[in-house]
Subunit: 214 residues, 2 copies
Amino acid sequence: MTTGGVLRRRPTQRRSQERVERMLDECAQLLDEAGYAALTTKEVARRAEVPIGTFYQFFTDKQSLVRALALRNLEAYLDRIASRLTAAPLSDWTDAVDLVVDEFVRMKRTTPGFGVVDFGEVLAAPGGPALPGTQRMLDEALENNVVVADRLRSLVVESLGVAPGDDLSRAFVVAVEAADAVLKLAFRAHPEGDPDLIAECKRLVRRYLSDHLA
Amino acid sequence: MTTGGVLRRRPTQRRSQERVERMLDECAQLLDEAGYAALTTKEVARRAEVPIGTFYQFFTDKQSLVRALALRNLEAYLDRIASRLTAAPLSDWTDAVDLVVDEFVRMKRTTPGFGVVDFGEVLAAPGGPALPGTQRMLDEALENNVVVADRLRSLVVESLGVAPGDDLSRAFVVAVEAADAVLKLAFRAHPEGDPDLIAECKRLVRRYLSDHLA
DNA sequence: CGCTAATATGAGCAGAACTCATGTTAGTCC
DNA sequence: GGACTAACATGAGTTCTGCTCATATTAGCG
């Protein structure tokens, strides 16, 4: 796990590494139980059996905690996609859509706190939405979904051997953003993910990408 | 303005009505300035020149404030769509996509706090995401985007005279959810809304809906 | 003019995020 | 072993936010 610049200090000793991991686990649990608004640093610390001071040794912030969790989930997701692609390469690009969506659904069902992967507001740069003159760029990779889109694109392109067009990058970003939204809706509508909405999500993405990949 | 069951008590006298309106205005301003996390009830009250006690006379909650604002924006949006449709009926359903998206962009540019129209987490039922056994249903209309989708569908169907299929309802929900996500991305990428992403949003929706409306 | 419901007000309470001064351990070089 | 440094541990305390509530004032109406 890389957990980029998310932590205040990276734990080097075994015990503190375990503690950080435990805090992330409990954070995920609490997010699934009561949502972000009800998430409490004290409760996370209490459940992880860690004093509150230790929490703030490693996380600068409540957001920092959630961001670190999102990053961990995101990497787990991409790793699974990558390994499934190398295990069984694709014959058709439409299979890639199924694979990517199904894996999302699978992780959402099994991985606590997986719903936080996007979480635009929280994960974006601090200070809230675009202060005047700030103009956050796409390629600054502040957006989680943009990162996912980029990795997915390279994985799929590699596995299929397509010519990497320029606008393919943007197309993937759009597709990921849209699919993410529809899948989240599917899980808001039904705890296990509304099957019809999941199917529609695939149809949406296939329809949209067919121009670029057919 | 209807502001459903959002308020703790509906203001009947002129002065309090103005005060509630002023609080919503300042809320919108603050949301655009610093985002939801930095939003403070005290600051809203201070700017609206209303004591904090008065704030809680009308709003049960900080969320209640934001929900009321979202509702106000949402109704303004739908009203504009409706009046534009009656002013100049559509010849082609693809025009409806342009109209709906362009109007969204226009309002996002001009109306403070318009970004809050969806705001899944915040607007959803209190208690965070689906507690075990709760299973929030789509047709409970807790989802703002579902309301928007339904209204848009009836408006477009009416203006075009299409046969209202059963799955058209779900298709509109999916389209609205996806379009909303992509448009928000467009505004995160560029303060005025990235034109390429706006164009892609239209393409996405047209592609997806063509099965249902062609 | 009196009566009721609506409105007004801000000190104060509960609790959350986060700090910091002080103590303890792990690793390393001699 | 001992000495030294950097990583880690700790929880009482500070600050600030959401929100309440007892009490005072006003609007509308017969």
